[in-house]
């Protein structure tokens, strides 16, 4: 890591003297590795590092300079960092934030400067709809995971459900996403305190409601607390359904056995049988002590591959921002998720899969692919996009 950074620094110094010839590509990564999303941010970083290593430090044939700075998960700090990237580092591409709020905070400055922002994770609804922008590219729209979960709940025949999310607008968006395709009845909608530690009161409510299943969107520590206490409270006969981010490898390894059998939905899984994916997962596990990658790592990897392809497609003429954006909109790389296409809002039309937490051959807990829930699915906001 430090060596990579030093190399980037050296490269930066060299170009400072080498005038304006577009002989390198500069990618600004806003690292999210301290603060509330540290675990996910570290996953992303590992994905970025792996991709750049695989490409031999080049993007589209040009030497790559990667600047990485932590912003601690604070949208205000993200804004400040992006100003530095734009004005001081003069980046050509931007990526990195984990949370929607940071992505929404930094978007306007990047769009005004016509610097493509390839999100490696968040897919906030404003950028899919009314505020869609030619220079923003999503990996998935936030609600689509929940929509897939709603469809799954129908297929499983759950007639009565309780749904749980933290009490902020994004939490409500996720529950609305679930309700969009779920056809059964809702026994209760529970909104919890942001950063809540103890879930005994909510679990008692769920027990009293006796639902067929529970859908929850509780990111990070909240989800870990909830699942541990849910199973400890003797509700393990009630199936849990979650969007993929509440049941990814980071959560699985922190919760352990209580995660077994948890259904979750995502647009990628590590056992997806696609050559590009198999290669990525093998390389990742080799580099990072046998650890399974998460969606965050996979999409960070894909982000770098997308930039690589776009730079190649424009023949290295990255000053032509419009051409770069057009190239990004027609992905010509082998994505680890398999085939996908962008809708006109630059959010993918792609498959969503059902995963279940199970044990692998070595007895390690991990997600296993069960099947496809939604095929070539597009988000619900594209109609609002005027692009």
């Amino acid at each position: 890591m430090p060596m990579l950074k030093r190399a980037a620094l050296a490269a930066a110094l060299c170009t400072a003297f080498a005038a304006q010839a577009a002989d390198s590509v500069k990618v600004g990564i806003a690292l999210d590795i301290s603060g509330p999303f540290a675990a996910l941010g570290a996953e992303s970083r590992d994905g970025f590092d792996l991709a750049i290593e695989k490409l031999g430090g080049k993007l589209g044939g040009l030497p790559a300079e990667v600047v990485k700075t932590d912003f601690g998960g604070s949208p205000e700090q993200a804004v400040q960092l992006v100003q530095r990237y734009l004005q001081r580092e003069k980046i050509d591409f931007f990526t990195g934030p984990i949370a929607s709020n940071s992505a929404l905070a930094v978007g306007p400055a990047l769009f005004a400067a016509k610097v493509p922002f390839i999100s490696s994770n968040p897919g906030p609804s404003p950028y899919a709809g009314k505020q869609c922008n030619p220079y923003f590219f999503g990996q998935y729209q936030n609600d689509t995971y929940d929509e897939a979960a709603g469809k799954l709940a129908n297929e499983k025949g759950y007639k009565n459900m309780v749904i749980v999310a933290p009490n902020y607008p994004a939490g409500k968006d996720h529950l609305n996403g679930f309700k969009r395709l779920y056809k059964g009845a809702l026994k209760d909608e529970i909104y919890t305190k942001v950063g809540q530690i103890d879930y005994a009161a909510e679990i008692a409510q769920i027990r009293a409601a006796k639902p067929d299943a529970v859908f929850f969107f509780l990111p990070g520590a909240m989800g870990i607390n909830f699942v541990k206490q849910f199973v400890g409270g003797g509700l393990k006969d009630i199936p849990l359904v979650a969007p993929g981010f509440s049941a990814d490898q980071d959560v699985i390894q922190a919760v352990g056995e209580p995660m077994l059998g948890l259904y979750n939905t995502a647009h990628w899984t590590h056992d997806l049988q696609i050559p590009a994916n198999a290669e990525f997962v093998a390389a990742f596990r080799k580099k990072y002590d046998g650890r399974y990658p998460t969606v965050y790592a996979a999409m960070a990897y894909d982000t770098i591959m997308a930039i690589d392809a776009a730079v190649r497609d424009v023949g290295g003429r990255i000053e032509d921002r419009a051409a770069v954006a057009a190239a990004l909109a027609k992905p010509s790389f082998q994505s680890v998720r398999g085939e996908f296409a962008y809708g006109r809002n630059h959010y993918p039309v792609q498959n969503y899969y059902l995963r279940v937490v199970d044990k692998d051959a070595e007895g390690k807990l991990t997600n296993k692919l069960v099947g496809t829930v939604l095929e070539k699915h597009q988000d619900a906001y594209v109609g609002e996009c005027g692009m």
């Binding site: 941010g41 909104y191 008692a204 199973v231």
Partner: protein
């Protein structure tokens, strides 16, 4: 909503209160007796949780893990006491806030360097993983009963220690008048070191016990530090009895707010307004309680100092 449900929620409230008390007890000791504001108490809590989780995973023994966690955390705390805290006893609260805030920053980076940024596994001991049937209609997590018991034991133990032992007498003497106590031959420095170690042991115990039902990750100490501070302030700083009563009060108010406020509002307000207002009010119930208590009793419910 039947009687059993209400009883269960009360029990949940008490349970959460006792969890908060586990952390608040050590905090109020150090804060109240030594008049030292230690924000890094949450970092000791985190250390306890991490060590216990790692030892438990490696050895399989939960009791052993808790013991090792306490021992190692006290050791770390002793080093920190000698290097930093000891020099803060005579300083004002702001210096203490500044220095211990610095310790938090160092501790978080240290944990990230040692164990990585991801939350780690902290399994529940197998024997306690499921629920027990308290009443025919009421299963209750067995592990939470352990937490309840630990909270009560700490409360009783501290009460006896402070009020009915010779050590406790020395502690009280050193706290109420340091100079006078020193004239009388009490080695106040040593007494304070003992109290700090005891506070660290309680923080480690709390962390080790909370691990199996919560996320063990960086920042976990800060997340629970604020509710714990609320507890000791409502109770009156330095009063173990106050912290105990306040912890139960906060636990009950917080739980009741989450369990009963949203349905109650739904009954009287339009649905969309109730859906927005209920959880928002439940979220700040604890702070409203504290502001209300302090508005009428500016030194908490049981002021320890006149």
């Amino acid at each position: 909503m039947d009687a059993i449900f209400i009883f269960e929620q009360l029990l949940n409230g008490l349970g959460y209160g006792l969890m908060l008390f586990l952390l608040a007890a050590g905090l109020t000791l150090v804060f109240g007796i030594m008049d030292t504001m230690n924000l890094a108490h949450g970092s000791l809590y985190m250390a306890g949780a991490y060590i216990a989780a790692k030892v438990h995973e490696a050895s399989g023994s939960f009791v052993g893990a808790v013991a090792v966690a306490i021992a190692l955390t006290v050791l770390v705390a002793a080093v920190v006491e000698v290097l930093v805290i000891r020099r803060l006893y005579a300083r004002d609260h702001l210096a203490q806030v500044l220095a211990t805030f610095g310790l938090i920053l160092i501790a978080d980076d240290a944990v990230r360097a040692i164990w990585g940024p991801s939350p780690i596994l902290a399994p529940t001991p197998a024997a306690l993983a499921g629920p027990v049937q308290l009443l025919p209609e009421l299963p209750y997590p067995a592990y939470r009963l352990v937490l309840l018991g630990a909270g009560l034991a700490v409360a009783v133990g501290l009460y006896v220690l402070v009020n009915h032992t010779r050590t406790g007498m020395l502690v009280r003497a050193g706290a109420s008048n340091r100079v006078m106590a020193e004239y009388m031959g009490v080695r106040v420095g040593r007494v304070f070191s003992f109290v700090f170690a005891l506070g660290a042991a309680l923080a480690a115990l709390a962390g080790a016990l909370m691990g199996p039902i919560g996320a063990v990750q960086i920042g976990m100490g800060e997340a629970i530090l604020i509710p714990a501070l609320v507890v000791i302030v409502i109770g009156g700083i330095g009063s173990v009895r106050g912290a105990f009563v306040a912890a139960l009060l906060v636990g009950l108010v917080d739980t009741a707010g989450r369990a009963f406020l949203p349905p109650a509002l739904r009954a009287v307000l339009p649905p969309s307004l109730a859906a927005d207002l209920g959880p928002a009010l439940a979220g700040i119930a604890m702070y409203v309680l504290m502001a209300a208590v302090l508005a009428f009793k500016p030194a908490g419910l049981f002021p320890a100092r006149a």
